[in-house]
Chain length 258, copies 2
DNA sequence: CCTTTTGTTTTATATTAAAAAACTCTGTTT
DNA sequence: AAACAGAGTTTTTTAATATAAAACAAAAGG
């Protein structure tokens, strides 16, 4: 079933921007898309008319528009859990001094839907709206560990275990063994697998059907971590996850899958 | 300069969804847009392909997709200030028990870019990504009060002073007088002008050029408010706004316009 | 001041989007 | 079980639009 070419092109223009290329000029886009600059101009003017793109008056370059932020905050799949979780993220961040994240699964990746930074000033990879690989992150492992065997097998079909650090798990066997540990412990760890020098611990957040709907994590420099610290953090996360499930209208956390 | 019709239509489909209509079926969209259902189908399939729209597998209806959230969090105009402000919002919310907002101006409206709820459980109009009128909100007044006369006159050209409550200011004269008070006091008030029973106080956040780049507010039931409470809240907000300006790399707050 | 680059506009036509018709699927009614 | 209604999806023809070439305007750089 064919796509509409001009809509396809317009959306691909939106996809060109990233954290490093936040502004692009017409000739940039023309080159990247292999389209004539007057074609690009028409596409941009249509996106701009609807505020999906705006033109920087200072330099004439184009950048993503506020309508994306507005519409993005109407994507309902995460709004309830984000609103309900926020105070728990804050609470844990205040208690630990570390950065706390809320992540949901979207396709075959996690996506950060909220983040409360700690007081230590540690600069992390994570950013709201950014995607995160499941194999190398605590939140990713927590999100998929509790899928049933069939679902998990389907999920991992074609999955690429890209190395991010020396510690990244890059084989499916090792990853499945890791997920077994997550199920056993009820929490997931990222031992400098996604970012050098950073350790994260995460727990799943359940719905009433025994499905994991989100994961919550604490991230910090590995130098600050020991067994006691982790034990306390796991407890804080599990307590918060239970409360969040309850506040979302669910009964006991994960009881249906035990 | 003409728009590209099919792109225009696709974006207008995205604009159909709101907080009350979070899912639509093809015939809904066909009717609202006065387009043939096979036309709508093609547009939706193109949006879906790029994850700007997704189809609910349970009922076949369409809803906004995660790409909007992802791209929305690449709209750079507010990311720095949101990240830097977050801990201040949290701090004020913890200290006061009330809901704290961060708002920027977009076109002729404010838009909520962050929100930390208080502990009182007060349910408010505000929501991240939602727009807010400048004439009836404390943040709106704080955002525009310090524009120079010419800019302000230009801004208010054609502005509609819609009544939201019995207290809403609905004349330009009254509104200009109100902005004069904001300039004098250094903070803005919303005395149940936007939402019945809710009082808000807001301050501007400045950049180094003497421009207001955001506003920060505290909202609470009017029943909890008195002169002393307001005074304390104004102080908390002003302190935080100064710190935020500094952390954004600016020097003294608003010094260039005093 | 001249040249180059970039953004914008106009116009002809090649290409695509649009809708009508038909098909498929699901749920409801008889 | 069969028929019907509604909704989603697919196919096909052609009317309508998007595309790019050319030209123009504005800004930046040498």
């Amino acid at each position: 079933m064919p796509l509409i070419q001009s809509v396809d092109r317009a959306l691909r223009i939106l996809d060109l921007f990233d954290e490093y290329e936040t502004e692009l000029k017409i000739t940039d886009i023309s080159e990247k898309m292999q389209l004539h600059k007057s074609t690009v101009h028409s596409l941009l003017k249509t996106l701009q008319h609807h505020h999906y793109i705006e033109q920087n008056p200072e330099n004439g370059k184009y950048r993503l528009g506020m309508k994306l932020f507005e519409r993005g905050n109407l994507v309902i799949r995460h709004l309830d859990i984000r609103a309900i979780s926020k105070k728990h993220l804050i609470d844990i961040s205040v208690k630990t001094g570390n950065t706390v994240h809320l992540v949901i699964l979207d396709g075959k990746e996690g996506i950060y839907i909220d983040k409360v930074e700690g007081t230590s000033g540690t600069v992390l990879y994570s950013r709201i709206g950014r995607r995160v690989p499941v194999h190398s992150s605590a939140v990713g492992k927590a999100l998929i560990a509790f899928k049933d065997d069939k679902e998990l097998k389907e999920f991992l079909k074609g999955y690429v275990y890209k190395r991010h650090t020396a510690n990244t798990i890059t084989s499916e066997e090792q990853f499945l063994a890791e997920l077994e540990k997550v199920r056993k412990n009820g929490y997931a760890l990222d031992n400098e697998e996604n970012e050098p020098g950073i350790t994260c611990v995460a727990v799943p957040i359940w719905d009433h059907s025994g499905n994991v709907i989100a994961a919550m994590s604490i991230s910090q420099p590995s130098a600050k971590v020991n067994d006691l610290v982790l034990k306390e953090e796991v407890q804080l996360l599990k307590n918060a996850a239970n409360l969040i499930s309850k506040e979302l209208g669910y009964s006991k956390h994960g009881s249906s899958h035990l």
